[in-house]
Symmetry: C2
């Protein structure tokens, strides 16, 4: 069946209140696909129908997968009884995610009807700052004492496990309520009934604290191949857990933020499709404006260059300016991109900085040499073929190109090569400086605890542009004197 047929089937079953078809669909189609189809239904009295007839194990997940708009509509249409049932079937972290997007009056209604324990948990989770471990954790986890026997542990899981976000990791505490280890469900299954959790638990666990950044948490999951991790409070007691499914979303979110920041877009709070155009414009305009202001330094440098004697005498030099500026920006951009992702994914840590700087310096020499060498050849070709022309070097009023044997003189040839050389040397210095600045800037910005992705790139562009232009002017002046270009 095609995607559209499935969608029609779902919508049909809901609109025509075919509860049996609907139940079968929930058994055979992933819930998120059903939630997406439901987004096409406008009428809220129809939208709430599935919540009344499908098995309760699906209701929490179905609700969590809906868009914020649809969630709000449904909550407003729900009776208090419906709402309590929904809350009971949902995980606390999903409820908190939803509440963070909803208007205040809806939030207070949800909190009013929530059972006391749940309300306490929700309020606590809502307090944690966005993007911290506390804000993404859930409070439904299985904690047992270290002296619990394997047999008792299994029966406790059978009894209480249904409400937990995961039963695959059991968190073990000692008599003082300190977190001392984790037991994976498979270890429990392979263990003997009379062993205690203390005997079989992993003591080489890692844990995070409520205020840790979610990006750091994601990196720990990746590094240690975890499926669940304990979140500790200041007293090192467990207050919640984070599971791998939330971490996958964070990894994607953080990568999207890096890409956006490197390309001058402020982080989106919602998914791309859920962000309206005006909001997108708000995310896009500020950095463009800042870059125009920063670009003023470039404009000033360029304004002086144009008026310099050497550029007035040899206007062809101006034609190469975009190439010089672009290439500096591009080579620097390569390094900064690798730095941002390396820092973001904790691929390198402070102790690797010297190694990173050394490697980038070496790479910079190689890249700049190759680019300058290629540039020298290419700029010569551009002049020979007349792609760029230098009227001040015209002979008898005719542009001297390689195709024009009459005008092809030794003087012109040497001028052409001098010009290519001038541009190529600038290209080398520009690329080298760009890569060096690009490796130092993110490390520097990260050291003062700011996000290097956002700040480093615009500063790099400005520095590289101005340096390229000033170096170009100096080298051109030197070359003009050396080779007697004018």
């Amino acid at each position: 069946m095609s995607e559209i047929q499935v969608r029609d089937l779902i919508i049909n079953a809901i609109k025509n209140k075919k509860s049996n078809v609907l139940k079968e669909l929930f058994e055979t189609i992933p819930t998120i696909d059903i939630a997406e189809a439901m987004e096409d239904i406008e009428d809220v009295s129809i939208l709430i129908y599935p919540f009344r007839v499908i098995p309760s194990e699906y209701t929490g997940e179905l609700f969590a997968e809906l868009s914020t708009d649809t969630q709000e509509k449904i909550i407003n249409a729900f009776s208090d009884k419906d709402l309590i049932k929904l809350l009971e079937e949902s995980y606390t972290d999903d409820i908190v995610d939803t509440l963070q997007e909803l208007p205040a009056n809806v939030v207070s209604r949800v909190l009013r009807v929530a059972p006391t324990d749940l309300r306490k948990d929700i309020n606590q989770l809502l307090l944690y700052k966005e993007n911290t471990a506390g804000s993404i954790m859930t409070t439904e986890f299985i904690e047992m004492k270290n002296i619990t026997s394997v047999k008792d542990a299994m029966s406790q899981i059978r009894e209480k496990g249904k409400d937990a976000e995961t039963i695959y990791t059991i968190f073990v505490r000692d008599a003082k309520r300190n977190f001392v280890g984790t037991v994976n469900l498979d270890d429990l299954i392979f263990a003997k009934d009379n062993e205690t959790l203390e005997d079989i638990m992993d003591r080489d666990f890692v844990a995070c604290h409520v205020n840790d950044d979610q990006e750091d948490v994601a990196n720990m999951f990746k590094r240690y191949d975890l499926t669940a991790m304990a979140v500790l409070n200041k007293e090192d007691k467990i207050v919640g857990i984070i599971t791998i499914d939330d971490v996958v979303d964070i990894i994607v979110e953080e990568a999207n933020e890096d890409v956006a920041a490197l390309n001058h877009v402020a982080p989106l709070e919602d998914s791309y499709l859920d962000t309206p155009a005006w909001k997108m414009a708000v995310k896009c305009v500020p950095w463009i404006v800042i870059l125009i202001v920063l670009g003023t330094f470039t404009t000033m440098a360029l304004d002086r260059i144009e008026k310099s004697a050497v550029f007035t005498a040899i206007p062809v030099l101006i034609s190469f300016i975009p190439t010089l500026m672009d290439t500096g920006g591009n080579t620097g951009g390569q390094t900064i991109a690798l730095m941002i992702r390396g820092l973001g994914t904790k691929e390198f840590s402070p102790k690797d900085f010297l190694r990173v700087i050394g490697k980038e310096a070496l790479t910079a020499v190689m890249v700049s040499s190759c680019v300058a060498l290629f540039g020298f050849i290419w700029f010569t070709i551009e002049q020979y073929t007349g792609i760029v022309t230098n009227e001040n070097l015209f002979i008898d009023g005719v542009a001297p190109t390689i195709w024009n044997a009459k005008c092809w003189t030794a003087t012109f040839a040497s001028h052409t090569l001098s010009i290519s050389g001038t541009v190529a040397v600038t290209l080398f210095i520009g690329s080298f400086v760009a890569k060096c600045v690009a490796v130092m800037l993110p490390l520097g910005v990260a050291a003062i605890k700011k996000d290097p992705a956002i700040i480093a790139q615009p500063i790099l562009t400005t520095i590289v542009d101005v340096v390229s232009l000033v170096v170009y002017l100096l080298i051109a002046m030197g070359a003009a004197k050396l080779f007697g270009l004018y």
Copy 2:
């Protein structure tokens, strides 16, 4: 204990062959941290010591976490018996990952000593193309018949589960060996002993095929919150499984590739720190060279502009060219970055394309309007304050700035505003075109099944630069005529 103290402790225990200390360290410290510390040990006879004394449950993981160089050294130092033991303790997908990096002679030795079954699996996995589901799957999974009772299933898990990569998902087949569902371990634990897998299995599973792209697989894990997924062959029989820990690495890898490609770096095969400088240069140079060649179109356009009557008469217009080109590149870059990540993470699918184009067009109007308006003000300030000067408009040989009341004439004021207007209108058109091209290009490139991240960005830059320059020339000519600028 600090990171360095832990490292010293590990190296000490290994060098001094303190097997008890070492065992305790493996129990209390994550294996990857121990593997990293071991990288500092040069002597291979010391390096292989831990493999002889630590519990066998750690050996496979320890080996998998080491760098390729160290792995090669260890394999060469191992006796055949050691090697067989290591292979038995490792997961097939880890072995294949290692073999893909090792030299041919080492690979053939490993295959020679591997038990027949394992060799067959390894050879099969090595056949799958890189970045496909087949190349990342493992063959160690638990498959059971649909008529198996819950009780039998549990005892089968206890018996065979130790060798499986995960026991949390059991893959269920019918009498014809067709894959019919999955059973999560928690469902098994909550079920009654006499129920069959058929009764309790999830039928709303998703699966992938051996040749599916790993990025698509990662997106399915994310969308459906999976921890394990079946990989099917052409006949829809299960041949392997992929688990979430491998997917986390893929998501990071794919994000890094997007960031690299958007910034003109070819994808790195190894991690940043493992890639030597010369290889980094090889990844960096090609696109820079291509961009210089593509930049020739910009150079040609600029060369013509400089020689046009209007730019010769009003040279200040040239000073704004970098701002125009940069802004077009930046606004287009914002859109292309959002497109690349949206396509990469399957946030939008073909059916959303019209919606995406509509939203970007609307955003483009808003962003371009704001930027042009700001530009108009800023360019006027630049002229008033003398940041850029137009010698052809000098009065009595003095630059007319707002600070210079004598020169401040109505004629100059109107000229200044006309120039700002000319640049601002070009800025609007350039930004608008950039954003529109930036939304169409990745969709177009994706439609012909090429990677939009790599190809779209350089083409965008070239198109935007040339369009900006041509539009600038036309508008400047029109404005010059309209306002009598020269």
